[in-house]
């Protein structure tokens, strides 16, 4: 996929540009970098705001959603309320004959499920997959990058060859196969992403560690008798953590997109509503030929918004860490 190309390209392009590092205590430099990202870059702050809103929606989903997202709704005659238009689009009086009051903000599906309620509940799987996959990718990539860069030698060789293998495995096909072989669940996507996507983070962090480990404070720590693990995780790790955040933010975006694609292809759990699943449902029940934009547009917009939020935050980190790329 393209993000791999971008990561590899970014990595080689930035070979000369070493990320800026701060002095001072580990926690403090981390805090200052994070603060700078969101103070300097309004778009990154906007991204954070989008995530905050969707998080609130996801937590309060059962309270906000007017109807059950999975149960088809029935009218007074006990028939399913199929293909109801959003009330602001429907012809007035049309619903009276059908035996229900149209209060549907986004209409209903072809079997009478409330689209708006599905949209609200869909934020849960998007954020769950997005954040857990990103956390897994960032943690695995960071640890592998740290170990490979610090120890070098055969450890480095093995880990980087493993990264080569991960770069050679087609991402979406791999996830499809994994999802098909195990019981359908959103965790398949998280596991498959964790197994493959650490490669980008791992490579970049490794090349940064190669630079940092030559610096005076690392030698000082070694002379004063700190163990390897202590040097890696207490002295080196804090300096490269902003990079992990950078890749983590992009990973949130890719995870949400990937989960949507996999659900759209029909490899998700049909009991869990997600935006990708909604679009699959619309696609398979011929919403396209009925021009049901009210069904097709909203889930895609939600995916796009959350993915852009991840991009914005990632770019914010990029600009603080690699000032040469900054918009001039």
């Amino acid at each position: 996929m393209q993000q791999d190309a971008m990561a590899r390209e970014g990595q080689s392009g930035k070979k000369k540009t070493v990320a800026r590092f701060r002095q001072g205590s580990a926690i403090r430099q981390l805090w200052e970098t994070n603060l700078e990202v969101f103070q300097r870059d309004k778009m990154a702050l906007f991204g954070l705001f989008i995530f905050a809103i969707f998080t609130v929606v996801a937590i309060l989903a059962p309270q906000i959603a007017p109807n059950d997202p999975l149960n088809p709704l029935k009218n007074s005659d006990g028939d399913w309320i199929k293909d109801a238009m959003p009330y602001w689009l429907a012809e007035p009086g049309e619903d009276v004959a059908e035996g229900y009051t149209n209060t549907f903000l986004l209409g209903t599906t072809n079997i009478g499920r409330d689209i708006f309620s599905q949209l609200i509940h869909g934020s849960r799987s998007a954020l769950l997959v997005g954040f857990s996959a990103a956390a897994a990718v960032a943690v695995i990539g960071t640890v592998i990058g740290l170990l490979a860069g610090y120890y070098g030698g055969w450890i480095d060789t093995i880990l980087m060859r493993a990264a080569d293998v991960a770069f050679g495995i087609p991402f979406i096909p791999f996830i499809i196969v994994i999802s098909a072989f195990f019981d359908p669940s959103i965790w398949n996507v998280v596991i498959a992403m964790a197994l493959l996507l650490w490669r980008d983070t791992g490579r970049v962090i490794r090349s940064q560690v190669l630079v940092i480990k030559e610096q005076a404070f690392v030698s000082a720590a070694r002379v004063s008798g700190a163990s390897d693990l202590r040097i890696i995780f207490v002295y080196i790790a804090p300096s490269i953590l902003p990079l992990s955040f950078l890749y983590g933010s992009f990973a949130i975006a890719w995870a949400i997109l990937t989960e949507a694609s996999v659900s759209f292809l029909g490899f998700s759990d049909p009991e869990t509503i997600s935006w990708g699943y909604m679009l699959q449902d619309a696609f398979n029940s011929l919403a396209l030929s009925r021009e049901a934009f009210y069904w097709i547009v909203p889930p895609g917009l939600c995916i796009m918004l959350t993915v852009m939020a991840g991009f914005f935050i990632g770019r914010g980190y990029e600009e603080v860490l690699f000032p040469r790329l900054r918009r001039m």
């Binding site: 996929m1 393209q2 791999d4 190309a5 971008m6 590899r8 390209e9 080689s12 392009g13 070979k15 980087m160 060859r161 080569d164 293998v165 770069f167 050679g168 495995i169 087609p170 991402f171 979406i172 096909p173 791999f174 499809i176 196969v177 098909a180 072989f181 195990f182 975006a253 997109l257 949507a260 694609s261 759209f264 292809l265 029909g266 490899f267 990708g276 679009l279 619309a282 696609f283 396209l288 030929s289 021009e291 934009f293 097709i296 547009v297 889930p299 895609g300 995916i303 796009m304 918004l305 993915v307 852009m308 991009f311 040469r324 790329l325 918009r327 001039m328």
Partner: protein
Amino acid sequence: MNRGVVYYILGRFLQSVMVLWIIVTLLFLLFRLAPSNPLASYIDTTFTKQQEAALLARFGLDKPLGEQYIIYLFNLLKLDLGETFSYSGKSVMDILRADLPNTIYLTLSSLLLAYLVGVLGGIAMAALRGSLLERVGTTFTLMTRAAPQFWVGMLLLTFFAFQLKLLPSSGIGPAIVRYRWETEWDKLMSPVFWRHMILPTFTLALYLHGLPLLLMRSNMLEVLDQDYVTMSRLAGYSEWRVMIQTAARNAMLPVLTALTLGIGYSIGGNVVIEHVFSWPGLGRTLVRAVQQADYPLAQGAFFFIALIIVFMNFIADILYSLLDPRVGASAQAQVS
């Protein structure tokens, strides 16, 4: 070409072969993880035990795992991917051979379009830096990268195929027309085929143009800071000439590498687009094979896509080291 470069290429090639071998092994193990009997979809419930055993023997599934693995490797070397379960015993290779050209046409035409627009757009964005137009343009590009491809495809389908009825909604052409295509050349010469290609190509290109555009833009900004650009400005060349002849030519190199990588990764990532437009390519075949538990076909399609990706990664590495000798040296240091 000096000896160092030859050794580097040779080393990279051997490494790619190793990577492919590991992927192939993982693929073998992965498909042994498959739930239930790999022939589950094939075996009728009315089969007797003997019939079942005969079938297992026909696919070599009665042998021990190690032996199966060896047979599998040798078959791969001969490019023999076995027989499909679901297409009444057609060979996997036949099906993939029919799919591959379609995937390649779609990928190459959309990459071409995307990189043309991306490179020119990137130059324009760099020239316009700081302006409102640049901000709007970059935001639009970010949006196209954030929007799920299949969703964009669905919107375009609804609008152009169903609402305006301007373009066909799926496939590569009606059966009556396809019947007359005896060779790939006939297909490529057919206007019907190209009409079917417009929407998927445009959808894919819309997504793909973001990478070259953003890459080109940041490369241009970096190059424009260099002394030789300042020099050519001082020498009195027009702004247009400075931008295109001096800066853009140098900013192009990383974009070319990205294009090479892009070919491999788009072929792997086309799955979703091919599904939306029912485009008969590798990706759609893979999805169907997995859905129908046709494991030899799924395995074969997966192998094909991985082969293309590994090969393109190799080409990109070589290209990068040839175009930029500095990278060659440091890359060699990484290899050893």
